[in-house]
């Protein structure tokens, strides 16, 4: 800024302050624009973060956070002493790992295949249809799945019964639950997941394919040696983001399919905290569980980000 160059180096704190005020007034619109967002952040993000201290207090809803008594790590002792907690921990991590291994590659394969399709009309209609389930709520997807897989009058079981004579308890067995979650996740999100890969596929230089054709590569070799390496960096970023997300399974999907018959494998942190905290009103205990989850999550995110940086260097140099 030419104006700023005329101003001589500030010597005293007073001068520095004055310069700062002049600067803020000059940029007042930009700073004013930040204010509503900061107010929102303070109230709805940072106040609840402060509220986490009830994990260390004997919280009473009538007394409030301030007036409740400090009791230290008592609730954490209680958390680590219950078997429910460890079951929940195991279920959450197992489910996330399953999603990582199965749900992660599906959009990549789909994107590679969509990219090879020559007909733009087919491509566009296919994409429109594949993205559709992403926009439907888990409540509706859950409702559709529940009716289709029902043992009494669901389409799938009617067909299975006709063929084999017996039905499959998709919804009411603990053993089927993880498959149910993986399957419905693929149905709802795999198509939508292709967007990011298709975007980076479209950025690959076409000359690479032409050169490969001249060298005598076939279609499959081109996919393997050009397309896949072309999106490798996006894949690694997605993988790392997923790794930082291992403690999270999302409430709504799990809650839709959870019932007393499959609770052994369907109880994850989100549903456990909801039940203990809101239904049993054990606020401090469930906040302690939530805090444990958040801390593990942060450690995972930090590790994942380190990994991203290492991988980033590996791919760029």
């Amino acid at each position: 800024m030419p104006v700023m160059m005329i101003v001589k180096q500030p010597r005293t704190i007073r001068e520095k302050l004055l310069n700062l005020i002049v600067y803020i007034i000059k940029k007042r619109y930009l700073y004013l624009m930040c204010i509503p967002g900061l107010v929102y952040l303070a109230i709805f993000s940072y106040v609840p973060m402060y509220g986490v201290i009830i994990a260390f207090k004997d919280f009473s809803y009538t007394k409030g956070i301030m007036a409740s008594k400090w009791i230290g790590f008592q609730y954490f002792g209680k958390v680590f002493a219950t078997s429910d907690f460890f079951d929940t921990f195991r279920n959450s991590v197992l489910l996330s790992l399953l999603r990582l291994c199965i749900n992660m590659p599906v959009p990549i394969i789909l994107a590679l295949l969509v990219n090879e399709i020559g007909s733009t009309a087919f491509k566009r209609i296919g994409q429109t249809v594949m993205y559709l389930p992403h926009f439907i709520s888990w409540v509706a997807i859950g409702g559709i799945t529940l009716t289709f897989l029902s043992e009494t009058d669901g389409l799938v079981n009617i067909v299975i019964k006709r063929a084999t004579g017996h039905t499959i308890p998709f919804l009411s067995s603990a053993g089927m639950f993880r498959g149910l979650i993986v399957g419905t996740t693929i149905w709802k999100e795999a198509g939508w997941g292709t967007i990011i890969y298709l975007a980076s596929l479209s950025a690959i230089n076409l000359e690479l394919y032409e050169a490969a054709t001249v060298d005598g590569a076939n279609r499959f070799q081109k996919v393997w040696h050009i397309s896949l390496p072309g999106i490798a960096s996006v894949i690694s970023i997605q993988l790392i983001l997923q790794c930082g997300n291992i403690m999270n399974n999302g409430f709504e999907q799990i809650y839709m399919f959870q019932n007393p018959l499959n609770i052994r494998s369907s109880e994850v942190f989100e549903t456990y905290i909801y039940k203990i905290g809101l239904l049993n009103t054990d606020f401090s205990y469930s906040t302690a569980v939530g805090l444990f989850k958040s801390i593990v999550n942060i450690i995972l995110v930090i590790i994942a980000n380190r990994g991203a940086r290492l991988l980033g260097q590996a791919t760029f140099y």
């Binding site: 409540v139 989100e270 909801y274 469930s286």
Partner: protein, 305 residues
């Protein structure tokens, strides 16, 4: 087969299609076609089942068209009061929440694109932290219900999730990708930052505004989780909550209330299908029109600075 091969080949390419081209075309069209069908068929079946009487459904559930069309299910479900209060509540979320979210997102994202703005990194950090750490379910519940007293108030479904950091960053990255020279020219001509944002930056942001606008509308339309935390009065339920209650607890008796003739009543199964359709149809109708913006909006927004 001829048609498929013709589609996959480049028209200018006079060389005969090779075996691997054919094989690739077959694999691609089959897999993508089947997956698309899999995404679409369940919704189609829901429409079919909602229209045909339950007894006919049981005979041949796999036939993808109704054996007999009857609108009884829709007629009865639409008389059910909670559907309408659900629609009104959800409409409130969409029409009040979306403008608020978009405005907050725009005015927050724009200053964050100014890399030389003092304090900008600090504010950005404050936002990014919320992506990885949050107070969690219970402290949020205490804030909304006890401190703010918003229990059973529709604002409790809007305010806590007003502006997500992820979408904010998409918006910011998109704005970063715009040519800065026009903005500078306007500033030199004497426009202030607010005028630059409204007159110059926003018109260029149409793809990302459409994308994030759609995400926001869909988010409000589909919102369910917050309602089980904060809403305990049935007449304040948003639509998805009504749908869930309907699916989970068989509420068909309330729909059939006052209808003594059994043949005029609707079956639980058919009523569920109809209510699923009623609760999702508006989104299905809106989204194809905004789809063309996704690619541009998301691709450019995803670019890192």
């Amino acid at each position: 087969m001829n048609g498929v091969v013709k589609l996959s080949g480049k028209p200018k390419n006079k060389i005969k299609l090779r075996v691997d081209d054919k094989a690739m075309a077959i694999i691609c069209y089959t897999v993508v076609g089947l997956f698309s069908l899999l995404c679409f068929l369940p919704f189609w079946y829901v429409i079919v089942y909602s229209l045909e009487p339950y007894s006919l459904y049981l005979k041949q559930p796999e036939i993808p068209w109704p054996a007999e069309i009857s609108w009884t299910s829709y007629r009865l479900v639409l008389k059910y009061g909670l559907i309408w209060s659900g629609y009104v509540n959800t409409a409130f979320l969409v029409f009040v929440g979306t403008p608020l979210t978009m405005t907050l997102m725009i005015i927050t994202a724009y200053p964050l694109t100014k890399k030389d703005l003092k304090g900008r990194n600090f504010i950005l950090t404050l936002w990014v932290v919320t992506m990885y750490f949050s107070g969690g379910m219970i402290p949020n519940y205490i804030l909304v219900c006890r401190t703010l007293g918003l229990k059973n108030n529709l604002w409790s479904l809007i305010l806590p999730g007003l502006c997500g950091c992820y979408n904010l960053i998409l918006m910011k990255n998109y704005m970063n990708g715009l040519p800065g020279s026009i903005e500078e020219a306007a500033l030199i001509d004497g426009a202030n930052d607010l005028q630059v944002l409204i007159r110059i930056v926003l018109p260029l942001c149409l793809p990302i505004l459409a994308t994030l606008g759609l995400f926001t509308i869909v988010g409000y339309w589909n919102s369910y989780f917050n309602s089980i935390l904060y809403i305990y009065k049935p007449d304040k339920y948003p639509l998805q909550r009504v749908l869930r209650e309907f699916i989970a607890t068989d509420m068909v008796d309330e729909v059939n209330q006052g209808i003594t003739d059994v043949s005029q009543q609707v079956n639980n199964f058919t009523a569920k299908m109809a209510i699923i359709m009623i609760a999702t149809l508006p989104i299905m109708c809106v989204y194809p029109f905004l789809q063309k913006y996704f690619m541009t909006g998301l691709v450019l927004g995803g670019v890192k600075e």
